[in-house]
């Protein structure tokens, strides 16, 4: 079956790893993001590695006018349409504390921008009766922590949105996976203090595709983050609020 994937935030290293894995099985790829020069290089790479289609397309989570042309481009391909969402931004919490309007950008990048795009894309997927949405959230969205609660709140919103979208689209054969990565070795975490058990982007991409194949609903990647977050969620609030994790 022919498959065309919209990849939002395709410049990220996790997105690149996923695009490469999809290219290897001959998928079509619409690589969406802001840095077109960079996306064109990734598109060339995907074509060389076997993608049946790879195009760089402008997408900005803060500019909804970029959404419709992207969806229209996907609809021109027959077969199944799928989407993988990697967009998000994580300024330091201290920066947001000092400059509250930054919060809006975080929410747009990590939650409302991609959610609005998926909302617009959903009818086309329903009409075709299949396809997968891989939505990348974060373990940071499982509980608001003092060091990262702006980003965490945006991701928590996205998790809840994906959960509802999953119920809606399941009725027409479209599957939605919520992906919660722990620490991944990306530009976002490079050189940060306190990183441990860091996974490679290739490992996360492989986990995501396996989850899609097995129609899992919510995955943590690497898997042990499920247990780490189970513990973190179980800490009573009176104690949690004193912790600086």
């Amino acid at each position: 079956m022919k498959e065309t994937w919209i990849i939002l935030g395709a410049s990220s290293s996790m997105a690149r790893a996923l695009a490469r894995a999809l290219a290897g099985r001959g998928a079509g790829l619409l690589l969406a993001g802001r840095d077109l020069e960079d996306l064109r290089r990734t598109a060339a790479d995907c074509l060389a590695r076997g993608a049946s289609l790879a195009e760089a397309i402008r997408f900005d989570a803060r500019r909804p006018e970029t959404f419709a042309p992207l969806i229209a481009r996907a609809e021109r391909e027959d077969g199944m349409i799928s989407a993988a969402v990697f967009v998000g931004s994580m300024p330091e919490q201290a920066a947001v504390d000092a400059d509250p309007p930054l919060l809006e950008g975080v929410v747009q990048d990590s939650f409302t921008g991609p959610a609005r795009l998926l909302q617009m894309l959903a009818p086309a997927m329903e009409a075709r009766g299949g396809g997968t949405i891989l939505g990348v959230g974060s373990v940071a969205g499982d509980r608001g922590r003092v060091g990262n609660y702006a980003y965490g709140a945006a991701k928590a919103g996205f998790h809840t949105y994906l959960s509802g979208l999953r119920s809606r689209l399941a009725r027409s054969g479209v599957h939605v996976v919520t992906v919660k990565p722990g620490f991944v070795d990306t530009a976002m975490t490079w050189g940060l203090e306190g990183m441990f058990l860091v996974a490679s982007p290739e490992k996360v991409a492989a986990d995501m595709l396996r989850a899609a194949e097995r129609r899992r609903n919510v995955i943590y990647t690497p898997f042990f983050w499920r247990w780490i977050m189970l513990i973190i969620r179980a800490i009573p609030e009176p104690l949690f609020k004193r912790l600086s994790i």
Binding site: R16, A44, D45, A48, T186, A187, W190
Partner: protein
Amino acid sequence: MRWKETEYTGWGRALRARGRLARPERLSTLIELSAESPAPAIGMLRSYGDVALNSGGRAIDMTRLDRILGFDPESGIVEVEAGVNIGDLGLTFAARGWIPPVMPGTGFATIGGCIANDVHGKNHHVAGSFGQHVAEITLLQNGRRKTIGPERNAGLFRATVGGLGQTGVIASAKIRMMPCKGDMMVLTERRIDDWEGFLSALDGTRADYAVGWIDATARGGALGRGILEEGEITSGISPGRGRAREVPFDAPHWALSGPVVRAFNAAYFRRVPAAGRTSVKPITAPFFPLDRLHNWNRLYGRRGFHQFQCVVPLAGADSLRRMLERIADSGLASPLAVLKRMGEGRGGYLSFPMEGYTLAVDFPNRPAAVTLIGKLERMSADAGGRIYFAKDSLAGPERVAEMYPDHQRWLKEVRKADPEGALITDLVRRLGLREAR
């Protein structure tokens, strides 16, 4: 761009550096870095010594810039970012009938590293060095892009190929690929009984790929015994790649001690039947024999190891024999010892290859081995040969100019390209390569 303060080492792990690394994922970030804080580029750290280390300074990790940018099936020219691994490029294209014309002994080397060290492969006598197949390099100098090639900015090109990263950061390159029949190799292995036999076998080989494994512990009449491997690329059905294995921890110091190595080498020699044998293997097996054993450098323990590699002219074969005698008498060698005949091909002013014989031997990092390697280096220079910067971790500056007669021409280009010395690495400092002689 955030910088990460970390310790890193060459493949031999005997030399370490502490410094700050940036790891750009986009060309635009790399250009910014090159403009604002120029630093030497490093790749997969597969060179053995300190050619890719910058103690106390900064370096740019290129491994995330690893995309294939285009391929023209008419000309066979592929354009790649500098962080692409050569083995990845080989695997991606071999099934379609193209292969990098030169591949070093590990598939984990980056294209940037293959250019900056002007690496050679088991087919050097036929195909020359890697740099001779580079059609174009995009070089970054203080944030400015410069396109160079064998005809365009030829001086700078020859200073960049084999130039140890001193002329700028290699951002991407165009490589002329070689058509190939398939992704399998017909491999013939033959026992060779002694040194004279090895030289004549290497002189007489008609195979595209030829390399000798030497038992560097064998002495007397068995000196120079080993196995000659000859290969030709072919097509066929690959049995699949098999799983990579991992060396999970640093081995104890006796793991590669004299008796263990002697026993291993004797068994390895007899592994090939006396009458020889021919087999068909996936292309990666003979090209990258050790790549399936990840972190095999840990077998040498925490102190690490040194690889000595020299090349001497054909007329210097006797000196090479004396070097092998010294090595065998010392009892310090590890199983990894390689002899090969090289052709003339070289791509740059500081390229290693010359027509002659090259010998490479690994030694655990111990005082006696360090002394021995010093002697071997002097013997190489005396024989009119040279040592290989991609492997070296011990030499001093004294005889570099003698071993590399084009050093001054290289230096002239490098001084223009990097007048501030922002791209200097530990090896360049140690060997005084940026100083006039």
